[in-house]
Every structure is written in structure tokens, then in C-alpha cells.
Amino acid sequence: MDTLKEDLKKHIIEQLNLEDLQVSDIDDDALLFSTDGIGLDSIDALELIVLMEKYYGIQVTNPEEGKVAFLSINTMADYIAKRRT
């Protein structure tokens, strides 16, 4: 699971051009779409949907599901783990 979270952080930094962030700067439970957390926005949400398909072969088609899944690195990793099984 830890490897998955590390990979996820690397992909997010690359895909979203978070050029000022390192993997170590992103806490597993930091809120991705909060200004207190990573401060992502709606375009980033679309990029995350693309990322999920590109790297994990998962299509996020239900917006409500995405809202919960994209809360933090922890929730994203859980979502990926569940969808893979």
C-alpha cells in the first residue's frame, strides 16, 4: 500500500505540474482539493480521472464516487486497491 501511495504522489506531481512539491511534501491524509491541503481545482479533478485510467486502468464514471475517492492520497489508494480486486 505504501508503494502505491508513493507512486500515486509521483504521478500526481507529474501530471498536474506541481513543480514546487516533492513526494515528501504530500501527507497521506492531506485534503487534495482544500487550500489547507494541496489546493487542487476542477481542472485537476479531470486530470486525476485521466491519471486513474492511464496508470491504473480504472475508469471513474460516477461523479459521486470520484468526490469521495479524490479526497486524499489515502482515499485514492483505497479506491484503487478496491477496484483492482
Binding site: 501530471q15 505540474n17 513543480e19 514546487d20 481545482d41 481542472i43 486530470e47 480521472i49 485521466v50 492511464k54
Partner: protein, 329 residues
């Protein structure tokens, strides 16, 4: 033929350029810069000083240049919110267009949205507006090498309607594939293809911050007789060639020596300084916006320069004419 119409004045109260020359935050640059070197590169300021990191991370070169130059203008003019944002661009956001098309060709499945969203020409004006929270008139003009002139005409019309402190400017960016396409077309320009963004604040009233005024603008598409068009433009402004102190011209194959306009240039040569601004700034479709900044900088620096004529013949089928006057003129 399209010309400016209104008797309202257009005062330039701020000017900012990011280019391959040391133009940014460098008043008096026109005295210092030399013809463009063959290995020149874009001189980038520290964009983080002007653009929020959240927006900056997605921005391509043309967006970074344009938003920074526009915000620099607002700082110079001490204006919080402009009355409108008007941008001219010949080729638009090429970096994002290329990225999107490469994604389109290589990625199976969902495509990343950012480069697609930002590939449109009006992203430039949109990003300026987003970065300052402006909800006013927001317009993009893309008319090949006359894009900037059309943006200026739009700004003049809006000033006539009562808007004030308008951001108007132009930008284009160089990407490698432009040279590759040029090679395939067997076109090898003697001057570098470059990137540049020049922005201005124009106002309807003269103030302590006014640097110069734009007296007239005219564009001629599919121009038949360049010489006649220039002569008519001067007649319409009750000016003789001898009353123009500085002529800034741009062309691909050196218009001045082409025979097409030799008579009018000869008349200018007797009394005016003639400068081919493409040799200074390089080739990009909206480089006449740099010429306007160059003219403003020369006027600010030398009170003997009262009238400047910009002749934009970068594309031989298009002619753009801008007449600038000093405040005292």
C-alpha cells in the same frame, strides 16, 4: 480597409514587453538594444513574482509572458482593475496546441484536458482576467500579422464608448516545429523566429502617467498599393512625410529596398530616422506591438521625437499603420 474612426484620443499610460531583448522593466531599453543575435533566447523574468503558483504551474510560455506583462502594466499605471482586456495573437497558444495534438496522436483512452483547454487563442485574455479577477469585456483578435492593430482598434472603439484604462496587447510564442515547417516550405528567414509579448494600458484622458498617444490606426488586408496606402494615411492625418520623426517598419524581404515603396521611403529618409524593428525583435506575427513599445520608449527618452509611424508589412499581403505622437505634439 479598417481604420480608427473616432476622434477620441488614446493615451498610453503603461507599457511592458517580455522578449528576446532586455525590454522588461527596463525603461530606456531602446537606447541600449542591438540587432538580435542569432542565438538569442527569451529573457524571462521571475514569473513567480507576478503569477500565483496555482495558476503558473499550468501556464505555457505565451501565458506566462502575457499575464506578467499585463500585470506589470497595471502596477505601472496604478490601476487595480482595467475597463477591458483585449489581446491580439497571430498563432495563439502553440505550446499547448502541440502538446494536445501529441496527446491526441499517442494516448489511447481519455485525454488530459489542460493542454486542450489552454490551446485556444482566447486563453491569453482569459488567463489575464482570471489572474486579476476581472469580469469585464474580454476579447481576442486573431488576424495574422494584423492581430495587434485590430486589438488596438477595438480598444479605441471601447474608449469612445466610455470604458477606460484598458489592457491591450499582443503575444506570440515560438516553438521548434515552426522552424521545421519553414524548412519544409523552403522558407529560411534571415532573422530569428522569436517569442514576445507587449502589453499596454490605454486611457481616454491625459494624466500625469500618460507617456504618448495613439493618433490613428489603419489596417489594409490584401493590400494592393502599399505606397498609396501610406500616403493616404498621412493625408488623412494632415501630415507630410517630413513631419514624421521616426519610422519603424517591419517586413520579410526588406520592403524598403523592394522597389514597391521606394519613393515614400526616400521621402522619409530625408527627414526621419528609419528602423526595421524586425531586426531588433525577431519575427513573430504580432511584433508590431513591440514596435509600439519601442516608439513609446523613444518618445519618453527624447523630447525631439514628436511623431512616430509604424509600418507593419511583415506579411506582404497585409499592411498595418499606427501613428503615435508625443503628449506635447
Amino acid at each position: 480597409m479598417l481604420s480608427i474612426f473616432t476622434k477620441s484620443q488614446m493615451y498610453i499610460t503603461a507599457a511592458s514587453t517580455i522578449s528576446h531583448q532586455p525590454t522588461f522593466k527596463n525603461a530606456g531599453f531602446s537606447k541600449l538594444i542591438e540587432p538580435l543575435k542569432i542565438d538569442s533566447e527569451l529573457i524571462s523574468p521571475n514569473f513567480k513574482e507576478y503569477i500565483d503558483a496555482g495558476l503558473l504551474r499550468r501556464m505555457s510560455k505565451i501565458l506566462r509572458m502575457s499575464v506578467t506583462a499585463a500585470k506589470d502594466c497595471l502596477q505601472q499605471a496604478e490601476v487595480d482593475q482595467p475597463g477591458a482586456i483585449i489581446v491580439g495573437t497571430g498563432l495563439g497558444c502553440l505550446q499547448d496546441t502541440e502538446k494536445f495534438l501529441n496527446n491526441f496522436l499517442t494516448i489511447e483512452g481519455l485525454l488530459p484536458p489542460t493542454s486542450f483547454i489552454q490551446s485556444t487563442h482566447n486563453t491569453i485574455a482569459g488567463q489575464i482576467s482570471l489572474s486579476i479577477g476581472n469580469h469585464g469585456y474580454n476579447m481576442t483578435h486573431t488576424q495574422n500579422t494584423l492581430s495587434f492593430e485590430h486589438a488596438l482598434i477595438d480598444a479605441g472603439l471601447l474608449l469612445g464608448e466610455g470604458n477606460d484604462n484598458i489592457i491591450v496587447g499582443a503575444a506570440d510564442e515560438y516553438i521548434e516545429i515552426l522552424s521545421t515547417i519553414g524548412e519544409h516550405l523552403h522558407v529560411k528567414p534571415e532573422v530569428n523566429l522569436t517569442s514576445g509579448a507587449s502589453f499596454f494600458i490605454v486611457s481616454k484622458e491625459q494624466s500625469g502617467k500618460s507617456i504618448a498617444k495613439i493618433k490613428d490606426i489603419e489596417t489594409v488586408g490584401l493590400v494592393q498599393d502599399i505606397q498609396e496606402s501610406i500616403e493616404n494615411f498621412l493625408i488623412n492625418n494632415t501630415l507630410k512625410e517630413s513631419e514624421i520623426d521616426l519610422v519603424l517598419y517591419s517586413d520579410f524581404n526588406d520592403l524598403k529596398d523592394s522597389g514597391q515603396v521606394s519613393d515614400v521611403f526616400k521621402r522619409f529618409e530625408n527627414s526621419s530616422e528609419l528602423i526595421n524593428y524586425t531586426n531588433i525583435i525577431g519575427i513573430y506575427p504580432s511584433n508590431s506591438a513591440f514596435a509600439l513599445h519601442y516608439a513609446v520608449d523613444r518618445i519618453r527618452d527624447n523630447n525631439k521625437i514628436k511623431s512616430v509611424l509604424i509600418i507593419n508589412g511583415l506579411n506582404k499581403i497585409n499592411l498595418g499603420l499606427i501613428l503615435i505622437e508625443s503628449i506635447e505634439a
